[in-house]
Structures are given as C-alpha cells and as structure tokens.
C-alpha cells in the first residue's frame, strides 16, 4: 500500500496515538479519585448553587418584588439570564450536529463536552421563565393540556408559549442526541470497570452494546438522523426567543432583524463558553493531544465570524432606527449610547465587537491564555447585550411620565451567580463520571492526517 500522506491534511489528534491509548487517556481521569483542583472547583460551584437556591427560595416565598423591577421595567436580570443561557446552549448542537453534517472531523474531540454544556446551559435557562413569573407554581399553565375550563387553553400567538415549546424540545433533542453519542463509550467503560454498582449502571445505560458491525451501522444511521433532526433547532430556538422582543411594540424590541441577530449572538456566546471550558479541561485533564491548537484556532475563527455578524446587527439597528424617522425608535438608541445605561452598552460593544478583533492575528489565536481571557470577555459582553436590549428599551418608553430606572437587588445577583453555580456543578460532575471525549469518534479519526493509510 502506498504512503498516502498529504501535507494538506494535518493530524486532528496529536501524538500519533493508538486507539488503546485514547481509551486510556480519556478514562484515566474518570477512574482515579478527583484532584484537589476538582474539589476546589466543585466546592466553589456548589456553594454558588446553594446561594442561588436560597435566593430563589426567598423570592418565591416572598414575591417577585424582592427583585429591583418596577411598573416600567418588568423584566431585567431574569430574562437577561434566560436569553444568555439559551445562547450558551447553542454551541453544543451547532458543533455536534451542523459540523457533523458538514463532515468537520475536528469536532470529534470537543462535541461531547460541548453537548454536555448545552444540556446544562438549557437547564439553567429553563429555570428563569418559571421563576420570573409571579406565581411559579402555576407555570404549567404555559403548556397546553386538557382542563375543565371550557374554552380556555394557551395563547398560541404569544411568543412565551412558543418559548416553552422551543426550550423543552431543544432540551429533549439535545439530551437524546448526547445520550446516543455516549452509548459506545459507556460500553467501553463498562468493560473496563470492575464489577460493582458503577459497572451495573454503565451496563444498563450502554443498552447491551457489543460493538458488532451491525450495532455500529445502526448507530451511525441513527446518529446521522438525529444530527439532521437537531440542526434546525440551532436556528429555531433562538429565533423563537428573539420573538419575545421582536413581536412587541416597544421601541428597541420591535425589530425584524432580531432572529438572525440573536442566532448569531447565540453561537458567538456558545463558542466562547466552549472555549472557556475546553481550555480549562484541556489543561487540568491533560487532553492537550485531543484538544489541539487546531481546534482552538477553528473556534477562534468562528468567534471572529459571529462577532462580525453581531457587530453588523448592532450597526443595522442604529441605522434602521435613525433611518426610520420614528422618534421613539430613534430616542431608544440615542438613549442606549448616551443615556443612563450607556456604560452597559459600551461594555457590550467593547466585549463583543472591539476585543474579538484581536483574533485576526494568528499570534493571538496561538496564545491560549489570551484566547481564554478573550472568551471570558465575550461571555460578559453577550450577557450585557441581552441586558441592554431588555432594560434600556423598557426604562424609557413612550410616555415620559413613565420613565424610570432599574437597579438590581442582591437577590437578582445571587440568582445569576446561582445559575452559574448550577452550570459548573453539573459540568464538573460530568467531567468526573462520563468520558469528556467521544472515544469512539476520536478513534475513527486517529489516522486522519497521520499517514497510516486506513480509511482516509
């Protein structure tokens, strides 16, 4: 067999690994007791979570009044956090589904954790539409179910009702997709574990996988189908979320540009969060060979692209406002840039538009520390984007007599931190109990660019 080694195709996995080595590398962190570092991280995340639980508990017991909202500003942190987390949740499906369909083999080493992240992010997001209501215990009314109230059902014209569908669907599909992807690896671990409860559990969840050709074929087909099924969700979910604002009459919300703008923003923030997590995982779990420069580079380029789209959206908003001749619309944007919340606006622009431009330089993309910091900035910026859209549009609307301000209370801040606590707690547990890298898939691309013939 002739040496087929094209210089164009660089290896996806560094260190000329053998499949056994892969399994070894991936399973090692799961089988050895957690490190001090992990415990530290877990302690921090979990205490944040507890704080959040306390804050939400108090709020539900006392009333939404414990937040800084008022008659004019009816939403602030609650919905900001919601949109923020849904946005984070986008990267996972993007990477796992869309990149899969596009045959982007480099995704294999990041998709597992990206999907996990998606699930946890959507979990965080899902909390807010419930707790932000005045009577959370009745939040189930947002779903259409048979009842004894004659003609009364849900309002299919309301974007909030569609939110309920979108989020639940997205969560389900992502969960299934993620789980299906896990099965082969679960089996691998099952086989490596010594008998015991853990082994039994893995045995159950790997659904009697035996790695036969037949099983693999079914698996591949199913995975492809699910990928196809999941792909439209990447677009649909945040489109629907954007309707929460786009279908209203409030200047600054009432804009047709919102769906693409939001989807781009979501991917932007999602990738940023993936980077944040990956770069940490890579260092702490010694996965440098799997999550290589190349991955980081690819994701940086994605960031650059989406940042560009977001920037364009910002500009377009201003242009349409000024061009519309609608004084209310115009005022809202003047007010964003120069009003009481200008600081938030410029934070957003700085983090989402200016700072990412550094990624044009390869030198920056290669310095992982800088990339890490960048990703953090983008996370912050994208949170502020939602805050700016929601609060600045509301606090100065049509009738000047209604103009008011907004300052968050400790309960809102605690709830925000709490959602991060939940997110990281889940993620850290995931790192411990499940393979953070899709071994099965990685093995398939080992030979990729490594000369060793194989199926190229």
């Amino acid at each position: 067999m002739a040496e087929v080694c094209s210089p164009l195709r660089l290896p996806l996995i560094a260190g000329r690994k053998q499949p056994a080595a892969v399994t070894e590398d991936v399973c090692r962190p799961m089988l050895r007791p957690p490190s001090i570092l992990w415990w530290a991280g877990f302690a921090l995340a979990f205490s944040l979570l507890l704080m959040g639980v306390a804050a939400v508990g108090y709020q539900i017991a006392t009333g939404v009044g414990v937040w800084g909202l008022n008659t004019t500003v009816g939403w602030a942190f609650d919905i900001t956090n919601f949109v923020f987390w849904v946005g984070i949740g986008h990267a996972g499906t993007l990477i796992s589904a869309i990149l899969f369909l596009f045959r982007q083999k480099w995704r294999t080493s990041v998709n597992r954790s990206a999907e996990a992240m998606t699930l946890f992010a959507v979990m965080c997001a899902g909390i807010f539409p419930i707790i932000h209501t005045g009577r959370p215990w009745l939040a189930f009314w947002l779903f259409p179910y048979p009842n004894f109230r004659g003609p009364l059902w849900i309002n299919f014209r309301s974007p909030l009702a569609w939110d309920a569908f979108a989020i639940s669907t997205y969560f389900l599909i992502s969960a299934v997709f993620w789980y299906i992807g896990l099965i082969p690896d679960l089996a691998t671990i099952r086989d490596r574990l010594k008998p015991g409860l853990r082994q039994r559990l893995f045995a159950i969840f790997s659904l009697g996988w035996n790695g036969s050709y037949r099983v693999w074929r079914h698996y591949e087909v199913l995975y492809l189908l699910l990928a196809g099924l999941a792909t439209p969700l990447v677009v649909s979910v945040h489109t629907i979320v954007s309707w929460d604002f786009a279908t209203s009459v409030i200047p600054g919300w009432h804009a047709t540009i919102f769906p693409p703008y939001f989807v781009a923003g979501a991917i932007f923030s999602g990738i940023a969060m993936v980077l944040t997590l990956m770069l940490v995982a890579r260092k702490t779990m010694g996965l440098e060979d799997y999550i290589t420069q190349r991955h980081v580079d690819a994701m940086c380029k994605l960031l650059l692209l989406t940042s560009g789209i977001v920037a364009l959206a910002y500009a377009t908003e201003f242009f349409t406002a000024l061009y519309s001749g609608n004084p209310y619309e115009q005022f809202v944007f003047m007010n964003r840039a120069k009003g009481p919340f200008a600081w938030a606006y410029w934070t957003m622009v700085g983090c989402n538009v200016l700072i990412p431009q550094l990624l044009w330089f390869e030198r920056v993309r290669r310095r992982l520390v800088i990339v890490f910091l960048l990703s953090l900035f983008i996370n912050v910026g994208m949170w502020f984007e939602r805050f700016v859209i929601i609060v600045t549009s509301l606090h100065r609307d049509f009738l000047p007599a209604n103009w008011s301000g907004y300052t968050p209370t400790i309960y809102e801040i605690a709830t925000l931190l709490g959602s991060f606590g939940l997110f990281f707690t889940c993620f850290l547990i995931f790192c411990r109990v499940l393979p953070v890298i899709a071994m099965g898939e990685v093995k398939a691309v080992l030979s990729h660019g490594n000369g060793k013939g194989g199926h190229a």
Partner: protein, 953 residues
C-alpha cells in the same frame, strides 16, 4: 348517617363557638365580604387542601327592603371638610362601601373630591376610640356623663368661664344645641376657627359691608377671573363646587379668562390662562395698583384691568391671603366692578368658613392666663394646627369630642368620641338657605355618641340626634322629601348688606429674603385626615410626591442653594423646620412652599405599612411620622392666622431623604443630549388655541388601515372621552377608583420603587419657558385598545378582548409573566409584586364586594369598572328596558368635579362619549402605533390672549 360527606375534618368537629366569628384561619377576607347578607364562618384546618366549610347564616328577621347583594344609596352630606358637599353613600349589606356626589345637591352637583372619597376609609379606622375615655382610661358613658355633669355644676356655681372651641360648624341644629348648652353658664363663649382660615375675608366684609359674612362665589357667572393666591380649584373653601362652576365656562365661545397671581404652583395656577409669579408680599401691591386703575377707570395698559373693566358685573376677583388689607382691597375692586350680587352672592352667603381668628387669639390668651374653667374641643386639633399648642393644662376641665386620640385630645380630661359622619344623623347649611342632611348608613361601629346627643345629656334633656334634628326642622321642611333628596331649600328672610366703603391702609413695600408659604395640600388639607393611607399615597397633583411634605423651591433658588430633590433643608424664621426639598418649576424665586397637615400623630400608624421584606424601608421618617408638621411656621398676629412668613432663612443640612414620587421626568421634550433628529417633543398632550378651534381642522394625519377590522362590535362598544382642558388634576378620580376597585396601599418604599398600584394616574407635564411654565394634567388609565399589545403576548390568555371592546384582565388565569405590562405603551398595567391586602379586618370592610381582591403575582389594571357595566346590564335586562346612556357611570367619571371624564357606548351615536369622540379637539394618545385606544382625549385649549370669551379686544 353513614354516607356523610365533609369537606374538611373541621366540619366534623364543628366548634360551635366559632360559628359566628367573621372568618377563621385560611379563609380569605373576601369570603366574608362576598357572602353578602350572610355571615360566613370559615373553620378550615390550616393546610387543608379542600375549601373551608362556609356557614351561611341568614337574618332572623330580614329588614324590609334589604336584599342580600343589592346596593342601596342613601343621600348624605360629606363631613370631611366644612364645604358640605352632598353625597350618595352606596351601602351593601349594611356597609357603606363607596361615596358618590349627590347630583341633587347644589354644592357637589354629583361630584366629590379626593378627601371626601377617602373619608369613607376613616369610618373603618381601627384607631377610632371604642368608647369614651376618662383621664385616658376607657370609661362608660354614664360615668363620663356623671363626672362631667358634676364638674360643670361646680363651674356653674363658681361662675367659671366655659369655652366651646370648634371648627366651622355648618349644622344649625348643632349650633342651637351648643347655644342651649352654653346658655347654662354665666360666662360662656363659642369660638370657631378654621385651621385653613379665611377669617380676613369675613373681617373685611364686616368692615366694608357691616356683616361678618363670606360671600358665595359664583365662578360660573364670571367672564374674567382674577385670583390672587386663591387655590379655588384645589383647596380653597369649596373646591368641588368652584371646580364645577369654573369648568362649565372653559369652552369657547363662552370661555372665561383666568389670571392667577401666586407664589407657589397651585392646581388653580396650573389651569390659569395667564399665571403671574407673585410672592405673597407683592400681591398687596398688585391689588393696590389694580384698584387704582379700576378706580380711575383707566387700564393704563394693564391687560387684566382692561378686561375687568370690560367685564363689569361679569368678573370676579378673589384673594386667598388671610390678610385684612388685601381682602378689603379685593372687596373694593369687586364693588367697583359691580360684582356684588352678580358673581359674589352676599344675600345668601356661604357658611362654609366661619372661623374668627381674633376670637381664637383671645381664647388662647385666656387659656394662657388660666382664666378658662372648662374647655370643650370639637372637631379641631389646635395643638397640631396652631403655631403653638394652647395651654390646655391650665383649664380645669378639658373635654374633647375627637374620634381618636390626637395631639390635642391626649391632653383632655375626657374624650367623648363623636360618631363618624356616616354613622350619625346631622344637618348642614353650607350656604344660607340650603339645608343638607346626613343620615346614618351603618350602625355605629363603636360606643361613640354624636356631639349633639352629648350636649343634650349635659343640658339635662337627653334626646337622640334624630329627634333633635327632626325637632329643629319640624314644620320648616318636608322631612321625607328632604331625606330622599339629601337636601332642602328653606327661604330665609335675607337682604344683602349694603356697601359701607372701605378704609384702605397702605402696607410696607415688599419684604426681602425668602418667604415661607404654608399651603394645604390637595390630599391632606388641614391634616384632619392624616391617618388616612389613601390620601398619603395620593400623588400631589403638582409635585407628584407621596408620603411626605416637602420644601418646594424654584429651580433658580434650588440651584443657588445647590439642593436637589430630597436634600433636607432647614427653614428658619423664629422656629426651625427641616424638610426635604423639591424643585418646583413655575414657583417664585423668593418663595418656599411647605404643605400643612403632615407630621401628625395619626400618621405614626404607618410605620409598618406595605410589604415587609429584607429590602423594605419604613414609610415614616426619623420622627416616626409621615412628613413634618409645618404649623410652627404659622403666625397668629393681628388677630389673623398668617400662612406666609417673610424673611425666613434656608440652609442645607447635608442630610437626604429618599422621596417617593410617581413621576421622574416632567416634560414631554426628551433630554437635549438624547434628542433624536425627529421628534424632540412628544405629541402626547396636544394643545389648541380658540382661534385654531374656530377654523375647520386641516386633518393631516390619516392612517391607512392594513388589517381587516378584527373587532366588529355588534352590541355595545365601551369607550371614554377625557377632556384635558377641563381636568384640573384634582385627583378625585384616583381615590374614587381606589375605593371602587380595591386597589391596595403599598407604602412609601414601594412607591419609591415606582410600584404604585393606582389604576388611574394623572400624568403632569410642564412646558414653556421657566418664567412662564405651562402645565397639563393627563388622566391615564387602561386605554382598552382594539389592537391591544398586551393581549397578543399573554401566554395563558389571561388578558383577552371582549365583544364589547373591553380589554379583560382575568386575575385567576394570570401567572404573572409581566409581558403584557412591558408591552403596554401606556404602562397602564399594575403588578402585584407582593401580597398587598392588609389583615386589618375592620379596614377591609371598605372593600368593594363586587371586585376581586387581587393576590400576589397577578397583573391588574383599569377595567372600565366592568362590575358597574355588568350590574347595569343585568339590571336593565331584569327590568326589560334598554340600557340608556348615563346608566353606567364609572367611578372616576362619577367623582370628577370638572366633568372631564365621560364614559359611554361608542356604538351609540347619541351617547355623550361618542359625540365627544367626534369633537374637533379629539385625539388619541399614541394612535400612530395603531393600537386603536378606546379612550379619546380632547386637546387643551390655551386661551392666553382670551380669544375664547366674549370680551375680545
């Protein structure tokens, strides 16, 4: 007995003792209210999932005419102030739940004011005395009567001085009773004073007409109105009556021309065609100059003089200063213009203010000197209202009739609590010859006793108030008719006192330095209602602040002192008062205006009002009370209470108080640094001049309808017209709505967080240059849009459109996403951030049983008083008659003295509302959004150059 069902264990072991209790644990207040005619006893085990067992306890013998669940209206007379407006008290199952103006009575003519509306809550005040107090201890009436009788006997023997101190009493029967009571003593006097005194007007007439009378002002007959610091639309003498008269003349071609000279910005000033800033000390000079010009019959270029001279006998000059010289000049001018008999009625004068400050001064001196043996205090609170507390401790016997323990009555030896006026029989003669009756609407809640009954006991001829009044009017009026109508005319042998000339004395020139002007706030008046939460939470019509009184400063003065809203300033003039400052556009630079009636003992109860949570702040200030009592700044000099103190010092203290205001931005023009290329000023309030009104409107704005009309209204289509030109901002509608719709009181902290719950608010906007500030008031409630933005976004269909154009809010379906409120361009929706309903069982008796009390976490808003719509429709159905225009009067409309709000069926071409919706002045707020509001506004008419009236020139 085997197959018994029960809803809770409680039902099995039925505690008989609890059966008659109003409501037990876990039973909502409204269970009790809703079971009209029954008494429901909830005996639920707390935490029992199932509904509590309700007891339905009927009367043993139902009174005739009373049917559970049907409201009855009793004609009565408002006792909230001496103006004596006629009322109709709406009584449901033995409880008065709403007060409405009595259309048949000449003073109110169907309207009422904020204070009158709120006085209903005073009936259910838990701080009212349950029984008389003897030396601060609860006592039985017999004991109190015995002891007082004994003390009086001694005094009679010793010939000691007996003084009866009261506010203005308009009740002839009561005056007669007091006369009979005092007649027993050798040295007895009845002293009347008003905390908001117009004594100078009476004194002036004594001088110029030889009779100590208060003319009955007829603003409806005046083409030209010159008001010198008289806030006749807000608080002066009889605001409801005056507002009605005034408003009746504010439309071209009959439009009156109104000039206001004032130092502060008053409600009246906010409506004036020409408003001239004048400090109190300048006003006398202006009056003198005006008098000279009128005397000389030569305007000398003075527009006002010219117009007054043109409108002889059709003009009216009023002066609000309690200053003899100024009032004599005012009389002089009115006399020269021949207004007496035309716009000022002295033949049948007003009796709404009869206070005599000189008599008060004498009494205070007597008290000081310890020459008073027995002092009876009725309906006044001198310890809080006067510059200095009277030396009550020097009187041997002090008896107070106060309904609760206040600054004065706490020093009284005996408190013989009077009824609330809604509990008692009474009569009133607000204007000579007009007798207005008060009949009880509920059995007295406490063991209180009408003053006249107490007096009757003490003169030794006990009789019920009913008998006494009946006796008084025996053969002079048709009793039943009078009671039904609420009032009666008696012809009094009256001939107008004749003009006897005026001795005008010159006064010193305008003083230097700042002048403190003490004014009655629209909600608080003289402070007699300082215990009423509705009035404290009522935004001031001008400043829009709540739960505080402030030192109002002109923008220039504030800038000079470097104070912002909320900075505590120290006003010093003999005495010192510290108040938070508020910058008030349109105010005179030398004037510091401070509202009276605050900082009262009664307001200490509000320490714990509003929701309690870790972030909540108290409603009261450091002094433990709401606001600061400014009456120490008053002065009782020259036999007159002076409401302005010249030459006061003002200094900053460096402290701040977080003020609560319902409005943060006060103009329709957006801040300049944010002003977009188009639309620096928002067309929310539109103005028009009489000239433009004459011309045919060139209608530029024409909306192309893109959507098919998805709301075809086959039956009714409810709508409203609000006349911004008529609205004075008096806020009667706000309280009327609160009383009708059970909107909660949330306290200062929540108000500061901009979470007020009023369903109707009055937006107040300033415009024009700093030295000619123009004001517009805009009542803003749910606009019941056809294309309602709130309806499309509610996920649970909790707010939907009715086939009669109502935008319905269904509380029990609301989960509280607040999306509807966000999406409401008018921000007319109110969210229950906490559980607001109070647990004061007594106060909750005021709740309207026809309106759900909203729980925490649901959205609410103006419903166009749908409960009234339903009632009227069902009743019309029952009687088999069609619904007529005017059958339904919503609460705000009903109370409005200026008749600015008209509700009706827009599908009925003849209804007033639909006719006004076609008016040349009609516009709709934010109609460019195509939300199709059902509320039509009528533009403000700016009659600056008076082209609206006859006297053009």
């Amino acid at each position: 007995m085997e197959n018994q069902y029960w809803r809770s264990l409680a039902e099995r072991e039925q505690p008989a003792a609890q059966e008659l209790e109003f409501d037990g644990p876990g039973n909502s207040r409204r269970d009790f209210l809703k079971a009209a005619g029954f008494v429901l006893a909830g005996t639920a085990l707390s935490g029992c999932a199932r509904a509590p067992v309700e007891k339905a306890i009927p009367h043993l013998d139902q009174p005739g005419g009373v049917i559970a669940g049907r409201a009855q209206f009793y004609a009565s007379t408002c006792g909230a102030c001496p103006a004596g407006c006629g009322l109709l008290a709406k009584v449901r199952d033995g409880r008065p739940i709403k007060l409405e103006g009595n259309p048949d009575q000449a003073i109110s003519r169907g309207a009422s004011c904020a204070v009158g509306q709120a006085s209903l809550l005073g009936l259910y005040d838990s701080l009212r005395l349950k029984q008389p107090l003897a030396h601060g201890k609860p006592a039985a009436w017999e004991q109190v009567d015995r002891e007082i009788a004994a003390r009086l006997a001694e005094i009679r023997k010793a010939g000691g001085a007996v003084r009866y101190l009261s506010g203005t009493i308009t009740s002839p029967t009561k005056l007669e009773m007091i006369g009979r009571f005092l007649a027993q003593f050798s040295d007895a006097r009845h002293v009347m004073y008003d905390a908001l005194s117009v004594s100078a007007i009476l004194d002036a007439h004594e001088q110029t007409h030889g009779a100590r009378i208060l003319p009955h002002y007829r603003f409806a007959a005046a083409d030209v109105i010159a008001s010198f610091d008289a806030d006749f639309l807000g608080t002066w003498i009889s605001p409801v009556e005056f507002a009605r008269d005034y408003a009746s003349r504010r439309l071209p071609p009959e439009m009156s021309w109104h000039v206001q000279f004032e130092g502060r910005m008053s409600v009246t000033g906010s409506k004036a065609d020409l408003r001239v800033k004048a400090a109190p000390d300048e006003i006398l000079g202006r009056l003198e100059r005006l008098a000279e010009r009128i005397e000389a019959n030569d305007p000398a270029g003075d527009e006002l003089a010219a117009r007054l001279l043109r409108a002889r006998g059709r003009s009216l000059v009023v002066c609000g200063l309690n200053d003899l010289a100024a009032q004599v000049l005012t009389n002089h001018i009115n006399h020269l213009l021949g207004n007496y008999g035309a716009t000022l009625d002295i033949e049948r004068p007003s009796l709404q203010r009869r206070g005599n400050d000189r008599a008060l001064a004498d009494l205070l001196a007597e008290l000081q000197a310890g020459r008073v043996a027995a002092l009876f205090i009725d309906g006044v609170n001198p310890a809080a209202e006067l510059p200095a507390a009277p030396a009550l401790d020097r009187a041997k016997l002090v008896v107070s009739f106060a309904g609760s323990v206040d600054e004065t009555s706490q020093h009284a030896h005996y408190i013989c609590p009077d009824h609330h006026y809604l509990e008692s029989w009474a009569d009133a003669e607000p204007v000579r010859g007009l007798i207005s009756f008060t009949q009880p609407t509920i059995r007295p809640l406490n063991r209180t006793r009408a003053v006249i009954e107490s007096l009757a006991v003490w003169v030794g001829q006990p009789a019920s108030a009913y008998e006494l009044i009946r006796e008084h009017w025996k053969d002079r009026i048709d009793w039943d008719r009078a009671l039904e109508k609420g009032c009666a005319e008696v012809n009094v042998a009256a001939q107008a006192p004749r003009w006897m000339g005026a001795k005008l004395q010159r006064r010193a020139p305008a003083a230097e330095g700042y002048t403190a002007v003490l004014y009655p706030a629209v909600g608080m008046l003289d402070g007699r209602h300082a215990g009423n939460p509705w009035l404290h939470e009522l935004p001031d019509p001008i400043t829009k602040t709540v739960w505080d009184n402030c030192a109002l400063l002109s923008p220039k003065t504030a800038a000079a002192l470097g104070v912002r809203d909320g900075d505590v300033v120290r006003i010093e003039g003999g005495v010192a008062v510290e108040l938070p400052a508020v910058v008030q556009p349109g105010q005179h630079d030398r004037v510091i205006a401070v509202a009276l009636g605050y900082g009262r003992k009664a307001s200490e109860r509000f320490a714990n009002i509003g929701p309690r949570w870790t972030g909540s702040k108290p409603t009261v200030n450091e002094n433990g009370r709401v606001g600061v009592n400014a009456s120490p700044l008053l002065a009782l000099e020259g036999g007159l209470l002076r409401y302005e103190r010249c030459g006061v010092m003002i200094a900053t203290t460096g402290r701040r108080i977080e003020l609560a205001s319902t409005q943060a931005h006060h103009t329709l023009s957006v801040p300049t640094h944010l002003a977009p290329p188009d639309g620096k000023v928002r067309p929310i309030i539109r103005e028009i001049t009489p000239e433009e009104l004459g011309k045919p409107p060139e209608h530029a704005e024409h909306h192309e309808e893109l959507w098919p009309d998805d709301h075809p209204y086959t039956g009714h289509r409810w709508g409203m017209a609000v006349d911004l030109n008529a609205c004075t901002g008096c806020s009667a509608c706000v309280i009327a709505c609160q009383a009708e719709n059970n909107t909660p009181v949330v306290g200062k902290d929540e108000m500061r967080r901009r979470r007020g719950m009023h369903w109707i608010r009055i937006d107040r906007y300033y415009s024009g240059p700093p030295d000619d500030v123009r004001v517009a008031h805009q009542p803003m409630m749910c606009q019941q849009c056809d294309h309602a933005p709130c309806e499309t976004v509610c996920p649970t269909l909790a707010t939907v459109h009715s086939d009669e154009g109502l935008n319905q809010q269904v509380y029990n379906r609301c989960v509280g996403t607040r999306y509807c409120a966000n999406n409401c361009p008018y921000k007319a929706r109110r969210f229950n951030w906490f559980n607001y309903p109070s647990n004061d069982k007594l106060a909750n008796l005021v709740l309207n049983p026809d309106v759900t009390v909203r729980s925490r976490g649901v959205m609410e808003k103006c419903t166009f008083c749908v409960q009234r719509i339903q009632e009227a429709k069902i009743e019309a159905k029952r009687l088999g008659v069609p619904l007529k225009d005017g059958d339904i009067r919503v609460a705000c409309e009903q109370s409005c003295p200026a008749d600015a709000i008209v509700f009706g069926d827009l599908n009925d071409p003849n209804s007033r509302a639909s006719r006004l919706a076609q008016d040349a002045r009609q516009y709709r707020v934010l109609e460019e959004l195509n939300v199709r509001p059902a509320v039509h506004y009528l533009k403000v008419i700016r009659n600056r150059n008076g082209k609206g009236g006859q006297d053009h020139g």
